[in-house]
């Protein structure tokens, strides 16, 4: 007859053992056949371009700093970008004091904030300057001469460029600007130059009659000198 499969339990251990029970060969073959095969795409992922990094979340603090910088740039007529090297705290305080005397404010800016702000504004040509540690000297009045004088005494701060009265200037430009006379003097010079010709009109008009008068005077003198006895002829009254 047919014996039940319980006969198989006579040999070997139970189903659950402490050791790893040796499996029947057919079972081993089945397990080897039914192993997991990972998907193989036609193009391996390392040949594809790198996926774009996840967009950084908008930082509230960065937004605040950018708003502050935009307000500063809008409110100031002169903005000078300088490179800042490490200097002592007291030297920095002294520099700030001297610049404050001429109403120039020193602001430390972070490059990532500055780049974001300048990219949107019209000062895009100042973008290449924001590479290393920078400070901004901002002022509502364009005091280039005083600023240069103060900065000359501080070797750790180097002027890179400036935007004065909506004009972007390099270091040379700022120096030239400093050498220019002040606005009132320029205006006076312009007025003087323009009014030079009209002022000469009067003397130009008088040149003919003045020349004639001089000639007649000369003639009178010669006649007086030549004929002392002879009476001077009645000269016509000059107009």
């Amino acid at each position: 007859g047919w014996l039940p499969a319980l006969q198989l339990l006579r040999r070997g251990s139970k189903a659950v053992t402490r050791h790893w029970k040796a499996a029947h060969f057919q079972r081993q073959k089945l397990l080897a056949l039914t192993e997991y095969l990972p998907p193989r795409p036609a193009l391996p992922p390392r040949c594809l371009p790198r996926p774009a990094p996840p967009q950084q979340q908008e930082d509230g603090y960065a937004r605040v700093l950018r708003a502050q910088l935009e307000a500063t740039l809008r409110a100031s007529r002169m903005v000078a970008v300088c490179q800042y090297n490490a200097m002592a705290e007291e030297d920095m305080a002294t520099l700030r004091h001297f610049l404050r005397r001429h109403n120039i404010h020193v602001k430390f800016v972070l490059n990532e904030v500055a780049r974001a702000v300048l990219a949107q504004s019209r000062l895009q040509n100042l973008l290449p300057l924001f590479v290393c540690r920078n400070i901004l000297l901002v002022s509502p009045e364009p005091r280039a001469r005083e600023m240069l004088r103060v900065l000359r005494g501080v070797p750790q701060v180097n002027l890179l460029g400036a935007c004065i009265d909506d004009t972007i200037l390099s270091r040379q430009g700022v120096e030239n600007l400093a050498r220019l006379p002040s606005l009132e003097v320029c205006q006076g010079q312009t007025v003087a130059a323009l009014s030079l010709l009209p002022s000469q009109t009067c003397s130009l008009l008088q040149r003919g009659p003045a020349h004639l008068a001089a000639l007649l005077e000369q003639h009178i003198r010669r006649l007086r000198g030549a004929g002392g006895a002879a009476e001077p002829p009645p000269g016509p009254g000059t107009a």
Partner: protein, 233 residues
């Protein structure tokens, strides 16, 4: 950058918000309860071995209830009083009862295990009760830890406890358990092998059921005895 040599330096500091522990309440007894060696009513009748309470996946206590972190069993086994004391004392030493708590997810030892005295031959009846144990199947949580703490703080001592258990175990958090399950599911879905153990067994291809157990219909080749085969899909 353009126009000059860029000196690498730190940019704007990114402030991260501290973790939010608002919904966490610490129970009155944050430490693990003491588990008895022997149940209050010890068994009179010696019970059969019934190793099927070790075999296969666990149907109970597979998800988190109170805590955020825990120890997951990746194999079957029996926990006895020594293990319970080790877990209780290690976790009690490592957690701060004011801000963290721990909870058992396994019952106290209830199953009596007999042992014959050493050096005697077979026969003479079943041995007396030697100790009581708790059966743990794979996929079950053993302890849960929670409170105002991060996984990084909790993981070292949970891993140490997990290594000392008689079955393979791992320290998990809610997110890591979810991730584990999701990855398992994804592996099952994107398996390129058209032949799966489940398919072969359910349709008895090539008469395979002669060499396999009827339990393999449920275990599907992922369990062998008390062992859990993690690499199998």
């Amino acid at each position: 950058g353009p126009g000059g040599v860029a000196v690498p330096r730190a940019g704007l500091k990114k402030w991260t918000l501290p973790p939010d522990y608002s919904g966490i309440t610490i129970p009155e007894k944050p430490k693990l309860k003491f588990m008895d060696k022997v149940p209050a009513v010890p068994k009179v009748r010696r019970e059969p071995r019934r190793l099927r309470d070790i075999r296969g996946p666990s149907q109970v206590d597979t998800d988190f209830t109170q805590g955020q972190y825990g120890i997951l069993a990746l194999g079957g086994g029996y926990l006895h009083w020594g293990h319970f004391e080790m877990i209780r004392l290690t976790i009690g030493r490592s957690i701060d009862p004011k801000s963290m708590f721990a909870v058992w997810r396994v019952p106290a030892p209830y199953k009596s295990v007999t042992r014959k005295s050493l050096g005697h031959r077979m026969g003479g009846g079943k041995g007396p009760i030697d100790r009581y144990v708790t059966a743990v199947k794979s996929g079950r949580l053993v302890v849960e830890v929670g409170g105002r703490c991060e996984f990084g703080e909790v993981r070292p001592f949970l891993e140490r406890v997990a290594q000392k258990l008689p079955f393979p175990a791992v320290a998990v958090s809610r997110e890591s358990l979810q991730e584990m399950r999701r990855e398992e599911e994804q592996r099952r879905l994107d398996n390129q092998n058209p032949w799966t153990f489940e398919r072969v067994v359910t349709s008895n291809m090539l008469g395979m059921r002669k060499y396999l157990s009827p339990y393999d219909l449920q275990l599907k080749g992922r369990y062998w005895g008390k062992f859990f085969l993690k690499h199998r899909v």
